[in-house]
Amino acid sequence: MKLTLNKFHVKDIQFAEASSFENGVLYISKKELAEYLMEDTNIESVDFDVARPGESVRIIPIKDVIQPRYKQSGTGQIFPGFVGDVETVGNGETNVLEDCAVATSGKIVAFQEGIIDMSGPGAEFNSFSKMNILVPLIYPVEGLDKHTHEATVRVAGLKTAAYMAKTTLEQKPDETETFEHETIFEMAQKYPELPKVVYVDMVQCQGLMHDTYVYGLNVKGILSTMIGPLEVLDGAIISGNCAAPGHKNATIHHENNPIIESLLRRHGKELCFVGVLLSNESAMLREKKRAAYYTSNLSSLLGVDGMIISEEGGGNPETDLMLNCKFHEKKGIKTVLVTDEYCGRDGASQGLADVTPEADAVVTNGNGNQFVVLPKMDKVIGDVDTVRIITGGNADSIGEDGSLSVEIAAIMGSCCEMGYEHMMTRLR
C-alpha cells in the first residue's frame, strides 16, 4: 500500500464569490459552502469567520479541529463514513491543506472550553495559532437534543474541511510525501532483522462528548481491532470528543497522528512498523481489562517486540494505559507510553490517576495545570459568553482588563497525548 500526501501550503483564507485555491490563497464562497452544510436540516443557519496567525483573535469554544484533506485518487474518500462512503481509504493520493485548519465552534453544553489564541502567550501552547483557520459557526434548529447537536456540528466540520481541500484538485502541490506500508508477510521478509513494533491507539468511547468514530462507527463496545496506518492518515478515525481540550485527540491529530508518521518514516530503516491497534477506553473496569488483554493478545499474535501507546484524556484512561503496559510487558513486549500530567500549579503532585511499576519508559507532553494569563483580544470568534463561563469564570479568572487566567488545559491541544506538540515536563 502506498499513500502520497500532496501538500499545499495555505498563506491566507479569503471570502469570495467562488471557491478556489490560487497562489497559496484559499478563496471560499460563503454562500456555496453554507448551502452544502445546510443539506443537514438540523442546521438553522451557518456563518463563517477566519482567524490568521498573529491576529488579536481568540476562538472559543472549540469542539474539533480538522485539517482539510480531499482524495485526488485511490479508493474511497476522505473521512469515510461521514464525507466518503465506508469504502477503505489509505491509498492513492490525498490533497492536504497545510498551515490550515477548520475549527468548529458552537455551544453544545454550557461549560465548554477549548481556546485557540492567534497571538500572545496562549499562542505558544499549540500549533493551531500558526495556521489559517476557517471557523464555521453552526446554529442548530431549536429544540435539538444534545447528542444530535454534537453530531451535526461534527459532520459540518468534516464537510467544511473536505470542501476546502477539494479546491486543490488537479493542482500541483508545493511538496509531496509518500508513505509505504506492506502486508505483514511482505515486511517480515523484507526486514527480518528489524524490531517489530505496533502502535496502540487508545480511543475514547464513553458517551455524549466522549466518543470516537472509525469509518463512521462509534467504537463503543468494540473488541480491540487493527487498522492500517495509512487509513488513519485519510481520516478513518474521527473525534467526537469535546471535553478536556488540552489533551483530547482532535480529528487533526488523528489525520496527522505524529506517532504513526514517525513510525512510518522509520519503517524499514530502524524498525518494522507492523500496524495500528485500536484499544477501547470504556467506563467499565471489566471492559478496560478486556480491551487491554485483547490488545496485548493481538500484539502477541502479530509477534511484535515492541509497542508504543497513546491515551486520550486523563483520569480513567490512565487505567487503560497502565493495564495495556502491564499486560504487554508481561508478554515480554517492550512498551513506551505517551501521556501528559496534571501535577498541580507548582508541579509537585503526582500527575497520573493510575500508575504501574512496569511503566519505565514514559513520554510526557506537559503539565496541564500550568496557569497562564491570556490578555484580552480585539476579537472573539465563537461565543463571547463562553469566555465568561470558562473554568467557572468569575472574579478568579477574568481580570479587570479582560485578561483571562486559565490552565493551559483549556487551550486546544496544548498537552496533546499523541505527542503532536513540542513540550514536556522536567523535574527541578
Partner: protein, 347 residues
Amino acid sequence: MKKIVHYVNQFYGQIGAEEAAGQKPLLCDGPVGPGTGLSALFKEEAEITATIICGDNYFADNQSEALGEILSMIEEIKPDMVIAGPGFNAGRYGLACGTICYEVKKRFSIPVLTALYPENPGAEMFHSKIYIVETAISAGGMRKTLPVMSALALKLLNGEEIGFPEEEGYIPQGFRVNVHTEKNGAERGVDMLIKKLKGEPFVTELPMPVFDRVKPAPAVKDMAHAKIALITSGGIVPQGNPDHIPSANAGIFGTYDISECENLTGQEYMTVHGGYDPVYATEDPDRVLPLDAVREIEKEGGIGELFGKYYSTVGNTTAVSSAKKFAEEIAQDLLRNNVQAVILTSN
C-alpha cells in the same frame, strides 16, 4: 564584595570528633575547614567573612536554643548569603545544615545553600524548600562538591536564573515544570522505544512513584502453634557491639542468640543506634526489643515458641537498598528455621 557566613559542625570546624559534639555555637572570623576551599573558589566575587561552628549533639539536643544563638549571630553580621556543610550522609549534621538554611531563608530572605547526600534526613526534609547540592555519601566527595557549591552559590548571590538539577548539581526539589522541546512527543517516544528495544540506556520523562507497597501475608491462623521471631532496626546488640554495627548508615545486621534469655538487661545488652536518646533503651533494652513480653505470651501458650535468635540492625539513615538486602537474607534464614511470623520493632 559579597559577605557569606558559613556553618560547620565541630568536626569540620576542627574542634574535635564525637567528644566535642556538645560544643555550643562558636563564631570565628573568616573561613575554617571546607570554607577555606570554598573561599578560594569564590575568587574576588564573594568571601566567607565568618564561620559558625556548633557541635552536632548540642544542635540536636537543644535545637531551639542553638538555632536562636546561631540566628542572632547571623543577624548581627548581616551577610548576603549563608552556606552550611557539606554534611554528606551525617544525619545530625545534615539536619542542622537544612534547618539553619531554611530558617535563615525564612527570616532574613537571603539566599542559602547546603550540600548533602540525597538520603541524608536533612536532605529528605528540606530538599523542596532550599537548594541542596548533591554529594557523595562521605567526605571523600569533598573535592568534587566544593566547585559545584561555589558555582551555585555565586548564581544565587547574583540572583541569576537557576537551571535544572542535572545542570546545577542540586538535589531535585520535586517540581515538574513545562519546557519546550526540539522534538515533538511522538518522536521522543519512538526514539525511546528504539533504545529500549536495543537494550540501550534511555531516560523516562516521567518516573513512576517508588513502589514499596508490600502485600501483607495472610494472617497466621494458629498462633498457639506458631514459631515467632524478633527483628529490630533499633540497634539492640549484646554489650560491646561484637559485630561493630555502625550507629548510622549501617551496612550490616547482627544475629544474636536469645534461646536461654528471658529478659534483656542493660548489663548484657545496649543500643548502638545513633538517632535517638539511648537512655531509656539502656535502662531496659526490652523497650526496643520486647523479649520479656513475648516470653510471657509464650508461657501463657499464646504463641507456639519464640525462635532462639533475633536479628538487629540500625535504621538510622540506613539506605533503603541496604535494608532490602538485609531483609532478603533474614527472610531466607527465617524460612530455613521454619519461622512462621515475625515481630518487627524500630525505636
